[in-house]
Amino acid sequence: MSIEVIKPGLATSVQDAGRAGHYHLGIPPSGAMDQFAMRSANLLLGNAEDAAVLECALMGPELRFTQACRIATGGAEMVPKIDGQAHPNFEVLEVPAGSVLSFDFVRAGARLYLAVEGGIDVPERLGSRSTYTLGALGGYEGRPLKAGDVLPIGQPNTGTRAAVGRRLPEAFVPRFAKHYELRVVPGLYDHLLEEETRERFYQEDWSVASEADRIGYRFKGGTPLRFIEREPPFGAGDDPSNIVDACYPIGSIQVPAGSEPIILHRDAVSGGGYAMVGTVISADMDLVGQIQPHQKVRFVEVSLEQALDARKAYAERLQALRVALGQALGDARDQALGQALD
């Protein structure tokens, strides 16, 4: 069973939970930018929650299904159309054999996750099916989809198969806004900033620039940040925003030459020579991937304790989703495994 790509959309790629353990060699985690949305689509459909899906940015693809197949969407709102007929988001749909699935314009959010019964069955590379485009690794031939690609689909798990028309409970349907707050733990190299600049960074609106992708989100519109003038340390480079090349945490915010902050996301470059001034908390990383270009963001300074509280709330919400969709078993197993390793 397979899916033929008629039109690829703006930037559509195969993603799953991502690959861990290779960042020290420059291979980032990759995986769905909005992990919660990916999991909600899979769980709704009765897939394993980390089955590979299609991540569709801003403009969806047009796909022909060679055989009848159930699907579900998560994340951004783009009305799915089967042979031109509109259907709801966040609901299990059946695409008949030979039918074409397309999408309307994005109404809210930036990335839709398309789960198909059985998952997208590209080969695992370094433990994941996720696409890492810079490294030409994983996914479909290591790149975003192109017209003419034929995607293999895995064997559906008939035991957990969801009924057509099953809807994501309202509590888990995402609510998108036009203005967002992103919580940030300050630190790393923010001591290199002038104090006034550091404070203002958290008081102004920043808007998402057109250079916003899986590697990083760039922001504009705020007052440029000033770094304290200093004798550059040996090996760092001339600009006051330069450091001796170091690792970049996922979610870290760098400000090259002080002008435009960049949040690194799941396809991050793993290191480099620009000072980072803080890190977006893990609970807000899903949201970053749902912000459209030109939308506004306020960075909110939080403590590590607050970040950990938000992390706990995120984990509880994910667990509630599993319970609501009848797949809480997987997590109980994970917890048992975690305890066994401790």
Partner: protein
């Protein structure tokens, strides 16, 4: 690695721990690049890896810093920092003087046509639009000619001090005294294109771009040697897909176009084998006589 109890009198012992969100800990050992900070980082991170601490999920050594990814649900930050401080004290108390590693010869076609074409395309983003990256780097480092500069770049060996940026890219730090370190600024604005396997330079680091893509380092040449292999066709690269590891020692060897072409053909056929040999690096030996270490690197490669 053989531990010794000797202290390094010049060693800065401070470390700066900074929580990066709720999943990463960033540790700066030195603001400036130096071999001691690199050695200390490699020693701490390799000992941390040996301990296999539950909750530590990624250990990333860098030039003069390192980063640990951890699961705060299983390992609280305070406990992680406590562990690292303990390991750091061990390392500082019993400075690892020796590193069992390997030397690798990297053939380089300096002044090649592909980086030349690329650097000409991005001249408006460069400090000196009238010359080439090599001419600029030679001039600002006080070399009378590009040939003299290439000689300096290829005569003394380098430590791979970090692997990253993109898949498998090695950052390399040259084993010469501070006054002989080459220093070059990055492009004024980064390029959107760099040929695959470009030998680049920024700050005090040489690098090899593993894939084609954006970049800000000056471009000096290309190597025919594959260093990243997602397709699994290169016999010298294992399942990690990545050739270099921090701690590797690299010696650049200038090659001409015909040798370069032959090596590219060999690599395309999956028959390229880099010249490499085991090597024991001794920090004390290096401090006393860096030239002797450089000679030993050369000898080991020639015996191979």
């Amino acid at each position: 690695m053989k531990p010794s109890t000797q202290h390094d009198p010049g060693q800065a012992k401070s470390a700066r721990y900074s929580a990066a969100g709720d999943e990463f800990l960033f540790v700066e050992l030195s603001e400036a690049m130096n071999l001691e900070a690199f050695f200390r980082g490699v020693s701490i991170t390799s000992r941390l890896a040996e301990r296999k601490i539950p909750g530590v999920t990624e250990i990333c050594p860098a030039n003069a810093s390192y980063q640990v990814r951890y699961d705060p649900d299983r390992l609280p930050l305070a406990r992680l920092i406590e562990t690292l401080e303990q390991i750091d004290a061990e390392v500082l108390g019993q400075q690892v003087q020796r590193l069992e590693t390997r030397v690798v010869e990297v053939p380089v076609l300096y002044n090649d046509p592909w980086t030349h074409e690329t650097l000409m395309r991005f001249r408006d983003r460069h400090q000196d639009p009238s010359g080439t990256d090599l001419e600029y780097a030679a001039r600002i480092n006080g070399f009378a000619s590009v040939d003299g500069f290439i000689e300096a770049h290829s005569a003394s060996p380098w430590f791979v001090s970090m692997v990253g940026f993109v898949a498998g890219l090695p950052f390399m730090y040259q084993m010469v005294p501070r006054e002989r370190q080459i220093e070059v600024p990055k492009y004024v604005r980064p390029r959107t294109d760099t040929p695959k396997q470009t030998v680049g330079y920024g700050g005090c680091f040489s690098c090899i771009y593993s894939v084609r893509g954006a970049g800000g380092y000056q471009m000096f040449g290309v190597t025919p040697m594959p260093i990243y292999d997602p397709s699994g066709r290169q016999p010298h690269i294992d399942d990690s897909m990545i050739y270099f590891r921090p701690g590797d020692i690299v010696k650049h060897r200038p090659v001409d176009r015909s040798e370069y072409d032959a090596m590219v053909a060999a690599a395309e056929a999956g028959r390229f084998r880099p010249k490499t040999a085991p090597f024991v690096f001794d920090l004390d030996e290096y401090r006393e006589a860096p030239e002797a270490v450089a000679r030993r690197v050369e000898e080991v490669l020639n015996e191979h």
